[in-house]
Subunit: 282 residues, 2 copies
Amino acid sequence: MKKLFVPALLGAVLFGSAALAAPTELSSGQFGLVYQLFSITIATMGASFIFFVLGKQNLGVKYQPAMLVSALVVAVACYHYFRISGSWSEAYTFVDGVYKASGLPFNDAYRYADWVLTVPLLLVEAVAVLALASNVASGMIGRLVVAALAMIVLGYPGEISLDTGTRLLWGTLSTIPFVYIIYTLFVELGKSLDRQPPRVQLLMKNLRLLLFASWGFYPIAYLMPLVFGSFSADGVVALQVGYSLADMIAKAGFGTLIYFIALEKTKADNEAKPGNLAMAGD
Amino acid sequence: MKKLFVPALLGAVLFGSAALAAPTELSSGQFGLVYQLFSITIATMGASFIFFVLGKQNLGVKYQPAMLVSALVVAVACYHYFRISGSWSEAYTFVDGVYKASGLPFNDAYRYADWVLTVPLLLVEAVAVLALASNVASGMIGRLVVAALAMIVLGYPGEISLDTGTRLLWGTLSTIPFVYIIYTLFVELGKSLDRQPPRVQLLMKNLRLLLFASWGFYPIAYLMPLVFGSFSADGVVALQVGYSLADMIAKAGFGTLIYFIALEKTKADNEAKPGNLAMAGD
């Protein structure tokens, strides 16, 4: 966890460099879609936090750290979506049936601040649930966290640029560590599959799919402004909708699936030790 | 929980389509009645959350998930009523003894966002407390959740329309899955009655009544703008009062009754296994 502070500092320096551009006018529907999705994300992250904290007690002690980390991830995301939602409201004024830019910039850097804190925690969570031998796990976590920070920091200069070439260049650079992370998790999750009970295997396969589906959303959302035109209304709406959905799946959905995997593993551990009903191991 | 993301997406697309109309002037009494009822709803949901979290510990472990889900439902509702209440206050300005529309739209889409998240959870809660064989339950939950989402999504186009015919058309379509849900729960709750101890039977009958009474409120509230005239002050006040009462009964009331059913079942389970006082089985 100590490793997070230096990157967080680096990130903060970068985030300070620019306020994001946003379109000068949105229809009531465009503004409302993004606003309502931010609100749903706040509710989803908040409810997930309660679920992870209370549900943790049903799990064997060795699976509880993964749920604790899941709870931290959604708590941090809930906070950031409150801020993002507030900034979205302040950036527009309702005039004559449409939403016009108020002059205050929409601060989308909250998203990158959120990722700097939550993505390393998500990776810790993914590796923790594998319950790998601790020496293997700690080396892998270190490499994944470094790759995650490289991915976020490299993506940001493209995110704040209005220039297609710049967005593509940094987006491509950011994709290199991204592919490394997805590949590592996929392969390692695959390796650990044979060692799992059948029902856990099925859930683990779903976890791999969920990981692929949710992480795959981010590069697609990143490209939306290029598809619809840089900082056009549609481009920004598609970007915000895409990131919000990806965050809900990658954080609340991922944690929920890990909870059910851990619940199955707790049951399997209890069946393996019939004399020990109350505790799921150590 | 994973199932919620697609509906959340669908819902968000719909919510983006319009900000709800509201009457241009309300009397002090009309504004105050709705405002105070929103506040009472926030307090009721918040208090229920505390009750469900703390009361959960008194129940056998197999009944605890139902209380956990109840807690999530009222937490999400509490958040949305905070938002609805804030939007109501912003939509009106107190001028010369009356409340005049401020120009900011009243965002009633929070209600539909809330239902997209909470109604599937309420159905999970209802089925969980039946403690049915898990294969029966999981198939039934799936069908009920699909029906619930159809009901919400079909209701929304009518809710935001000022036209009587449109409101009636979508309201009628939405009633089809609504009747299916009520019928299924009624019949299934009825079937499980014979297998219950006498005191649990009485509570289960009350649960059926409560379910019928609270869910029955929603279509009545939906029709209020037709009774009083579309988006007349009286119509909007009756709609908001009806939905708030229905939400309190269907969420806080339903969860409270489930708590007492689970408490009776925990006692019955403990009596059946006299050697095992601490645990209610699994």
